[in-house]
Amino acid sequence: MLPKFDLYMPEDFVEACALKADGAKPVAGGTDVFVNMHGGKDKSARVLDIKRLKELQGQRFSESGLDLGALTTHREIEVWDEIRSRYYAMFQGCSQVGSVQIRHRATLGGNIMNGAPSADSIGPLLVHDAVVTVAGPDGEREIPLDKFYTGFKKFDIQPDELLTRLHVPLPPDNAGSAYYKYMRRNAMDLALMGVSAYVEIEDQHFTSVRIALTTSGPTPMRSYSAEQVLLGQPVSDEIIVQAAETVEREGKPRSSWRSSAEFRTRLLHDITIIVLHEAVQRALKPVALKAEAIPMRQYPGLDGLKPRPKMEDVSCSM
């Protein structure tokens, strides 16, 4: 049973900001907040439902990129064709959140503001260089997503401000991205480890690289030093392995009941190789083929990460 609370469902943005500044708990999909409330972890006496605010609604794809309202659900990203062909990592991240039911409710803005280090949509947004817009009664500010996180569940946002929109620039035709989520079961699990990568390739050289790590620190984070290893270098297995070793040194995963820090660090290395390979392959494909899944490539020494069998191949005897 949910604790008793007063519910506010304003349509006016300034009114919503005032309520938030006054201590009301903002709720969009409620897939984190209500879970915490059921569990007794969150006892907010006032709940602010922000789903009626027009400033946070709508999503559009144009020549300048994606303009996403903070209320965009993961399901909307998952079934959107342009996302698959241009922002494949976002498709991979958003389609692996929870279950279909959760994805119909859970919003991108909520995934950011919940602040979990394991958030699946954030790594892909980081590597696609997303910029968030926060707005309050005094106007709006644009902040690059990697600067928006200031610590564990801490953000560059004032009490009277709300996250309103996300802008994701349009990647060029020679770009490719990938996200890999390692989890113990195929659905309804948090990322034990996740790595996202975005590369642009020209004449077989990395001309732009972004790598983001999930569950590797207090917030989802970029691995800037690994990006520097690859930048300007010709594409090769050796340089990708070097980048993976740098990621392994830069990531600071913790031990938890899900897994030990040692295992997570090993995963960082192996998954970085997988996503970089996938992103490179996708970057080399023409735009029309970028939406296709790329089979995972096995490297020597990757014995710990065998590809999962295809669902058609799984036979269960009854």
């Binding site: 049973m1 209500f34 929870g98 409710r105 295809k310």
Partner: protein
């Protein structure tokens, strides 16, 4: 305690009710409308036994407030059968032996309805992916997937014979 007045359509019938602000859709359906098909499992959105369709989309009724539902349409497992005749999915679940204790079944059926609205001829992989949020602890998922495929066959045959077996109310209640 704050109360909210809502007008909500459930299984084709319009209800005007006053609900406490903190009441979930699940409790509203079970306690106010006595629709006990929707089940409370974990109450955290993990198990899928809570699945109902809101405006045609599967949602976790334990994490949705009843107060949000003003003007919206809800379909529960009770709304599947029509004129005393089971929905093809329900028939298929029985015939394929996809039920054991039955606790997950209402949620499974609602997820399957949503699945077939999106993919009328799903592959086994699509069934597994779209129904990943429903957990069954008895029969395993193979027979459930078998049942969905059997239901597709039944619906196709019914369509060929132009019989009105395919549930019109279900299709009407889902905005695509």
């Amino acid at each position: 305690m704050q109360y909210v007045e809502i007008n909500v359509t459930v299984n084709g019938e319009l209800y005007n009710k006053t609900v406490p602000a903190n009441k979930t859709l699940l409790r509203f359906l079970r306690e106010d409308l006595f629709l006990n098909g929707v089940k409370e499992g974990c109450n955290e959105g993990e198990c899928g036994a809570f699945t109902v369709l809101v405006d045609g989309e599967p949602m976790n009724s334990c994490l949705v407030l009843a107060a949000e539902l003003n003007g919206r349409e809800v379909l529960t497992v009770e709304g599947l059968a029509q004129d005393g005749r089971l929905h093809p999915l329900q028939e298929a679940f029985i015939e394929a032996g996809a039920i054991q204790c039955g606790y997950c079944t209402p949620g499974m059926l609602m997820s399957a309805v949503a699945l077939l609205n999106r993919y009328p001829h799903p592959t086994r992989a699509q069934i597994r992916k779209e129904m990943e949020g429903n957990i069954c602890r008895c029969t395993g998922y193979t027979r459930i997937a078998d049942a969905v495929l059997l239901a597709v066959e039944k619906m196709d045959t019914a369509e060929k014979n132009q019989s009105p077996q395919r549930n019109q109310k279900v299709l009407a209640g889902t905005k695509k």
